[in-house]
Symmetry: D2
Subunit: 295 residues, 4 copies
């Protein structure tokens, strides 16, 4: 699913923490280059910190979310997941510059930053629209206390002390199953190559709109991952008392779960628009990352 | 996905071979009952054989495919897969009466035959529209020699002597991977609980439109099942010489594969319309068949 | 591996907490019955609590470990794992009376308590010798701070906040692999049907002497469970800083792990002697617990 | 398990078919080199064929099995499996020279042939003793018609047409389970990284003495691989009629199975003595072959 051309005016720059040397090396030529193209830039706190003493202002996430029309992310897949939450409301396109090893999401190697940005601001890049997951957490199954749109996954995961947790799963108000085990993952196609895969889940091609539910170390051997259609409305009732169990949104936001809490999962009304090269090939990334076909 | 009401006039009856006693016991009261409702009946060869000497005519599959507007299938899931091919062109709805243990497709227990049929012909049943897979086999990658629409799966499987086979997979003309192993399964959502699951594939909810590709005993540990979106066009190039390898359509039609042959897979333009009770619950069947949640 | 007959004089009774009604119902006739056979009885705190006001003395775990020559365990598999640690030093035989559903270890249904005990004290029961695992935890890889003999497993498991942990595995001083993921399980044959199985590990027949290492949600798809021979000496170097990670002995004793800690695993010099009926059939338990062969 | 030094006098040379160029290039310098060391050489038919017109005599497998006290195998893992059957009776040590990519068994790269052979004939190499599997096939469960000692595995595998096969498994005369599916693999530790692994089986360290039973695409999701102790005696009753099903010994000898046939599996009294470098590290091979720890 490709959308119309991107012609940005204001660029938000979001950066991975604790990588100040690499970030500075990249920003030092990048900022004048962007200015030379007539583009405004909004830097986040980490970017400013990496630059040392500087007259540039810090912008907070809300300001960037309101004003930027392109997000450049310097980091890895984790930084992009975080950027996706900023981008959600106005569906700001995201370009991921990779500071380390190739990621599934941060696909541009830092050496190619200027080459790629040149293409992007001349409108030669297109945005892939990636399905997101919407999650609501209801305390005692009643009042929504958390509400997130995530790009990868929502995970219920037992802590170190709990021996096993217990949830009931409902789909479109039908009882699906009771699960006992370490937890359960609700993943988008994009997230299917992340934690869900480590737990034994299938790969979903990025254009797949479905939601995969992958049990983590299930007590019952027959509980296989299930791929639900995009129209599904899932509810998970948490049944274990006195456990240190968390629901974790995109691996970044953790909220404790209590007995009686309900987690609602559905496809988000929003998408993440990832800027990708017209030459990009998903299967090359997959082969490279998973070492497919080797040996 | 539910479609409009079924109000049949001519009923085709398709039966599982080698079950003549059970078939006769069911047909003996069923035929006068259907006649009493003013319905015409077309019996297949197996049905006639089970009845013993009788004035009734045999209808062949082509005649039934042309004229019936409801198929009653006496048998199990295999008999329904076979009926699905007859039903394809005119999308005749199918009602599966189960002669043995509960099936994923043949859901009506034989004891409830009359109760259910009464509902069906009064229009109280609805047809679930199940996605099918279209497969073309091209000799030397050129001339289509086989073309099938299947409800469950298309399988490439090595024979007993071959040690390992080798295929190349392409999706929308992009190279995906080379697979070495016992073979590969292309399955619809409906087929996901059959052979694909035994080979380690995920469950796809029946409303899922995607196609799952599941490797069989892959040589490379990283080759996980992939779920493709419904728009995918897959091509599999068969690369092994001198092997007794078959491509098998819905477990019923086997065609030998030769080096250079290409198997094309896409979503079918047709669907299978399965009659299901309004009270039916897919997850109950799943729990019952897979023994979910037990132990 | 069967050992010589059991002819006990002093019986320790260990009981599952929070099951006082069932425990009392069983102890009320059991205590006079054992006295009638001329046997001394040592009750643990939970047993005494369940009996209500009573002249009986509580014995602590150390006293029972020193004096009992048979342990009767009222509870489930967890209670037996706990009893196995008491029994280790003197290899006291254990008889598990099941208060709930059939366990892998607690195999006697409570209805059969007296029938079975009669057989046991007449020497008609035999003790299966189950291999145990010895584990040492070395702070900074130097000083042993924890040392346990366990019947089931030793588990390194990430907490809810940590995204992934990293360990290096050595076998007999050879580097085996680096693992990234949720953790790793070292399991005996007895423990192979518990947590290791939920994480994808194989079943080890109870007479198998090997140790199975099962990764939990490994980041690298190729990291399969490995079965090591009984002679193996495994070392796991924990490499992640600032994580809430635990090493857990038999699911009951949790100790925090720090970067640089080393976990040493080898076969224990001790065994657990489980009393089993001469008619017992391991595969029946396996079929019953795993629902093998059904569906 | 390492055994005493190897000091050979008569060397059998076994070669992979259809690799005449590589074999000739290696034999041309190797034969005079061995003669110069005062060693007799026995060449198999493939070796002679690869040499072109030559005064050297062909020795058949039986002659080599009777007289050689070292087998040099030019080929890959398959050629070594075949050599292992020749070596069995007199437990002749085997040195595998790899003509292609690194194998689990054929570990010496051809470039190092002379270096390694020099070490071997000076007694600096040691033989690893690898457990083998003994298999008897009984027609109608009565008369032994086939009897093999194999290094890797014994496989029951359905042909292309059969939809599913059915066997009953017994261990030490106890019923274990009924299996429906594509077949079943009985593998040694050495074979555990071959076909058994592709079917989902665990890795067994080469010093493990157990036998792993791995179902192939089992119909029942709960049928996990089981590791049996070395003392086990397994019997498999084949129950399917009219199928083209084979039992395959080490991937090389195929025998048709009929309903009522029984396959008996136990640990062999023989071992395969594989010559390995004292510097060899099993885990390096494993990491290299399985791509462990990458990505």
């Amino acid at each position: 699913m490709m959308s119309k051309k991107i012609l940005p005016k204001t660029i938000g720059i979001l950066t991975k923490p604790h990588r100040s040397t690499e970030v500075r090396q990249l920003l030092t030529p990048l900022l004048p280059w962007l200015a030379g193209k007539g583009l405004s830039v909004m830097l986040d706190r980490e970017a400013i910190l990496s630059m040392g003493p500087s007259p540039l202002s810090v912008f907070d996430r809300e300001e960037i979310a309101r004003s930027a029309d392109l997000l450049i992310v310097l980091g890895g897949d984790g930084t992009i997941l975080s950027a996706a939450r900023i981008a959600t409301q106005r569906q700001i396109p995201i370009l991921g510059i990779n500071l380390g090893t190739l990621g599934f999401l941060a696909e541009v190697p830092k050496e190619e930053t200027f080459l790629v940005l040149d293409s992007v601001i001349s409108g030669h890049y297109v945005a892939e629209r990636r399905a997101m997951i919407h999650a609501d957490l209801l305390k005692n199954g009643e009042r929504i206390t958390e509400s997130h749109d995530v790009l990868n996954d929502v995970v219920i995961n037992k802590g170190t002390t709990a021996r096993m947790i217990e949830v009931e799963i409902y789909a479109n108000n039908h009882f699906v199953t009771e699960m006992k085990g370490d937890g359960v993952i609700f993943s988008s196609a994009t997230g299917s190559t992340a934690y869900s895969m480590a737990a034994g889940g299938p790969i979903l091609h990025p254009e797949s709109q479905g939601i995969v539910m992958t049990p983590i170390c299930p007590h019952t051997l027959t509980q296989r991952p299930i791929v639900f259609p995009e129209s599904v409305r899932l509810e998970t009732l948490f049944k274990t008392a006195d456990a240190h169990v968390m629901v974790i949104f995109d691996g970044q936001i953790s909220v404790p779960l209590e007995k009686g809490d309900v987690l609602r999962i559905s496809r988000s009304d929003h998408v993440t628009r990832l800027l990708v090269s017209p030459d990009r090939n998903y299967f090359e990334v997959l082969r490279d990352k998973l070492r497919w076909g080797d040996a």
